[in-house]
Amino acid sequence: MAAAPEAETPGVARPRWHPAELAFWIAPVAAFFAFPDRRLLLSQIFVYALFALSLDLVLGYAGILSLGHAAFFGTGAYTAALLAQHGWTEPLSGLLASGAVSAAFGLLVSLLVVRGSDLGRLMVTLGVGLLMYEVANQTSSLTGGVDGLGDLPIGALFGKIRFGLDGRAACAYSFAILLGVFLLARRLVQSPNGLALRGIRENVRRMPAIGVDVNQRLRVVFAIAAGVAGIAGAVMTQTTQLVGIDSLGFQRSAEVLIMLVFGGAGRLYGALVGATVFIVAQDALAGISPDYWQFWLGAVLVVLVLIARGGLLGALDALRRRVKRRR
């Protein structure tokens, strides 16, 4: 029994870095050099990983089931696009502004979301997602409607580095943002705030008894997550220099939910793993036939719920526990 006691008690913060975590972060850097012609795909993976990470804060930590998370992704994406179109082309400040707009919108929505039951939350988030899609669809003079906005004049990073077609700058930029936000999120979930969230998820009735204002904590994390989703959307807009209306669609909300659950919710890394597997699989399979992709996506979901609860990382954990017991 030489294992550290903190590693054995679930739910207690582990601020120290596990070697596996360091190894995990070397992988994307290695991929950057190993697949120089697939850097646009890599960049897409980082964007979706960031998006899934934000949903993990909402679903995995706060326990709020959201079916309209793309509303915030799209808000950030369109804010970044509109800023660039109207002359604010500097990417980093544009990114922060998009995140801020999205977080403010998230705070507004959170007032409606946190008070409901699971079903109520699900319906309200679904409604907000559909509403934002309709707004973008109907205000086509501003948002381009169904066609979206293209050829956006995104400025150079630090006044020097341009987002080119080879995806080098895009890839490095989105990776840096992902890593930065991940560090903050990791800090957040291991802070007392994060532990309170975990307590709320596990037993919402008991938390007020130890002096936690449940709704206030949920509102804060919902707004933060909305901001992160907005940043993800803005990174997508800036690196591709276009934004489509599908960034607000229900399909997008469902996909990010699938990524997160497939990787394993409530553990941050699950979001990253799930997004990676999803985007790589989509790239490899959807080209063959979009219908088959849709069908197998559905089938994987059904099987996931019936058999492999906890996603990929959950299955990995179970395997590790079994091996440990053998020994």
């Binding site: 699971d118 699900l122 509403l131 309709e134 849709q294 559905g298 059904v302």
Partner: protein, 287 residues
């Protein structure tokens, strides 16, 4: 004035369809607290089955309806016994993921079998003309729809109020535990109700082809409408669902007729407002 009545009439016809399709969902959510996003897929399958029967076997529209009801009901029963049953105690997240998965599969299967385009339907000539009532032109098919749903609702209301099965169902919706304690087989009751609900949904899907259209995105496109009927009406409440479906139908048709530039905006905005103001539904009694 004439257009107002015409819009109201179209709205009522549309609402009747929504009610027919959502009824099974209301019972599923009321009785088992099961969030079934795949309910629209039963309606879609009913629509496709109707089209296939008419095209392949040259059946008349009227003849396909009972067949669709029975076939989709049977499919619902099989799915309930094989899959749904395992998830009654699962979390809302698991139920949502599972039923989104089923919806995706149904949509992809429909695209594979019938292609992505809208399915045309040839209604019998007796339902195609216009009927003039008090100087107002009404579509015969929509009149038929409303009459059909009125008769069906009356029959169902009677069945639920007067039969033994209806009494058991009411007891189980009110309090499943106490009902089980009284010796009611809630599991069996639910299987039967689920199959009936799926069958009605399939029937609604077949009847809806001429009004809502039919393509492989049907289940996802109208999912929110069906959910809305149930949530606004209060899960498990048939009267609530009826009122919600009619209000929703009229509001949607009127909104798209008078302010088309707003599109679906009115529906979604009123949905959020209603959900926030009445978290337990307009007619709901419990959480």
């Amino acid at each position: 004035m004439r257009t107002l009545i015409g819009v109201l009439f179209d709205g009522v016809a549309y609402g009747s369809l929504l009610f027919l399709i959502s009824l099974g969902l209301s019972v599923t959510m009321g009785l088992m607290n099961f969030v079934n996003l795949a309910h629209g897929a039963f309606a879609m399958m009913g629509g496709f089955l109707c089209v296939a029967l008419m095209r392949r076997f040259g059946m008349s529209f009227g003849l396909t309806l009972p067949l669709v009801f029975v076939a989709i009901g049977a499919a619902g029963a099989v799915l309930e016994l094989a899959l749904y049953r395992r998830l009654y105690r699962a979390s809302a997240l698991d139920q949502v993921l599972f039923t989104i998965g089923l919806t995706f599969m149904a949509g992809a299967a429909a695209t594979w079998l019938w292609g992505p385009s809208q399915q045309p339907i040839e209604l019998p000539p007796s339902l195609r003309h216009q009927i003039t009532v008090l100087g107002i032109d009404l579509g015969a098919y929509r009149l038929f729809l409303v009459a059909f749903v009125v008769v069906l609702t009356a029959a169902m209301g009677l069945g639920i109020a007067r039969t033994r099965f209806g009494a058991q169902l009411r007891a189980a919706v009110d309090n499943p535990r106490a009902a089980a304690g009284m010796g009611i087989n809630v599991g069996l009751l639910f299987s039967i109700t689920f199959a009936l609900g799926a069958g009605l949904s399939g029937l609604g899907g077949a009847l809806a082809i001429d009004v809502l259209g039919l393509d492989p995105t049907f289940a996802l496109k109208y999912m929110v409408y069906f959910l809305l009927v149930v949530v606004v009406g209060g899960p498990g409440s048939i009267r609530g669902s009826l009122i919600a479906a009619l209000v929703l139908g009229v509001a949607d048709v009127a909104g798209k007729y008078y302010v088309p530039q707003l599109g679906g905006f009115i529906i979604y905005a009123s949905m959020i407002v209603l959900l926030v103001l009445f978290p337990h539904g307009l007619h709901g009694r419990r959480a």
